[in-house]
């Protein structure tokens, strides 16, 4: 997004002098964890009239997020001084730019502000919806490829058929986590790859299995850390600013850990079910 140096109306901006004794700035912090980019923004506005416009909903704080490579472009609005945004990283790749503004939410006629530069005094000013009232800080950040998403390597979970079991079981004592399904269940699972309930079926099988796995991490019996799946999970947790050793303690429950690794599987399942219900209506 290009920021102009001049506008056909006054803009509160650090690089001009349209206003006196006023300021607008925003602190933007970005972090990434388990498939989501989290953006935390706090806005500081020092101008009574503009603050009033925000309070009476004529204007909003706004964050503009753009990723050229994936054609992602979106805005997030708030009337409060803090804004939390989460965007799935599967929508983003490479360079991402984040801009902050205060924007007119509706047409504002006869705009008056005591801090306006002398030049603007006694000139009638109107803002149209979408016009910029103030420009804050902007940052650029880069998101690197997440190869684990596309690649089957290293795949640490194998689902297999068990001829003698009537219930699902999980074996964690080898390099891969092995999920054993009874014959009928296995057949259904194996043929669900392109079903419209793919995510749901995956959640049914993988979520409880991972909860089981994570419940075993704490006691680490049988030297689990020697297995490939343990090392891979350890790396995934580390990359997402968590510690695998903390799973099963007060810091991180096995249930939450499983949902983090699988990136909100319940949500994906219910979205799938909602879609299916809609098409049936």
């Amino acid at each position: 997004m290009k920021i102009n140096t001049s506008y056909p109306y006054p803009v509160l901006y650090m690089n001009n002098d349209d206003y006196t004794k006023s300021s607008f700035s925003s602190q933007i912090n970005v972090s990434e964890s388990f498939g989501e980019m989290h953006i935390h923004v706090s806005f500081q506005l020092n101008n009574i009239e503009i603050k009033r416009l925000i309070d009476n909903q004529s204007a909003v704080y706004l964050i503009h997020l753009e990723c050229g490579q994936t054609s992602y472009r979106n805005v997030f609005e708030t009337h409060s001084e803090v804004l939390e945004i989460s965007v799935p990283t599967k929508l983003l790749r490479g360079k991402i730019s984040i801009h902050s503004f205060i924007i007119a939410k509706e047409r504002i006629e006869n705009y008056k502000n005591d801090s306006l530069n002398e030049w603007y005094q006694h000139i009638p000013i109107t803002f149209e919806k979408g016009n910029l009232i103030a420009i804050g800080e902007a940052i650029e950040t880069t998101l690197f490829d997440d190869n684990t998403e596309l690649l089957n390597l290293p795949s640490i979970v194998t689902v297999t058929k068990s001829l003698k079991n009537d219930y699902m079981e999980v074996d964690i004592h080898s390099n891969n986590i092995t999920i054993l399904l009874p014959e009928y269940e296995y057949k259904q699972y194996a043929s669900s790859g392109s079903s419209r309930l793919k995510e749901t079926i995956l959640s049914m099988v993988i979520v409880p299995s991972l909860v089981y796995v994570f419940s075993k991490i704490k006691d680490n019996s049988g030297d689990l850390d020697e297995y490939t799946w343990y090392q891979v999970l350890e790396k995934i947790f580390e990359e997402n600013n968590y510690r695998l050793e903390d799973v099963g303690t007060d810091v991180l429950s096995p249930l939450k850990a499983a949902q983090l690794v699988l990136r909100k599987p319940l949500k994906a399942s219910f979205e799938e079910i909602e879609k299916l219900n809609k098409t049936e209506d």
Binding site: G68, T70, Y72, R73, T89, K90, R93, I103, K129, L150
Partner: protein, 254 residues
Amino acid sequence: MKLKFISDETLTDLRTNYEEYKTYYHNQDHTWFDNYFKEKGRVFESTVDFDMPVFDLSEEFAISDKENVKVIYEALKHLTVTQATQERLWAGLAHLQFRDYAFYRMKKEIEEKNDKRINTSIFFKNGNKRSLFVHILARLWWVGYMTYDESNESNPYWLTEFFCSKDFSARCVVFFSSNLTSNKTITTGILRSIIKLDAKGIAVKRDHFVQATKYLNVVGGAMILDMLSTDEVEKMVDKYLAKYFNLEVEAQVS
């Protein structure tokens, strides 16, 4: 079946040694390609499942391009946009599972030994964003993605069909290389406005697309267009195109 893609090393090899390999492309030498990709480490299987699409291979690209946007988008709708921006995926498909289609679509270029266009057809040679709308496979998916209208339940491809009705290759690049059209709300607004001109019997030309995006680019300098609704964008474009192309009279009549 699982979607396959090529390793980074293979992609680099194919790109950098194209001069060495070009006769295999010119001769559509499937045996050579099959053997090349048999070598260890060349091809990876992804976790992405898909049903092999049946491409339209009509004589006229004007017909097949439109159909194939739908064919490829239906088959690979579940790709994430991050996956869909990867060169090794699209270059991989052009050499592996969709090789027949690639040869079909490059028929003219292969006959003329137009190596430059063969390169841009199967590799990303125009920058990360633009290549998505130049690569002969990626552009089918991306036009599908950008024009698919979920809100139209009876025909979610109504904008796609209009967009692909003629001048496909040029329209893709002209329309989608603008940053504005990254926002689907804006894209839909523009297309809905132009589709109305078409319905009124006006011959829609490349310039209609150019003028609409040009205008929004200028307006976007003074306002955040992303805040507007599709209807608002549509009305703005209606008004501007009517003025620019002197259509006011017709617009009022209808």
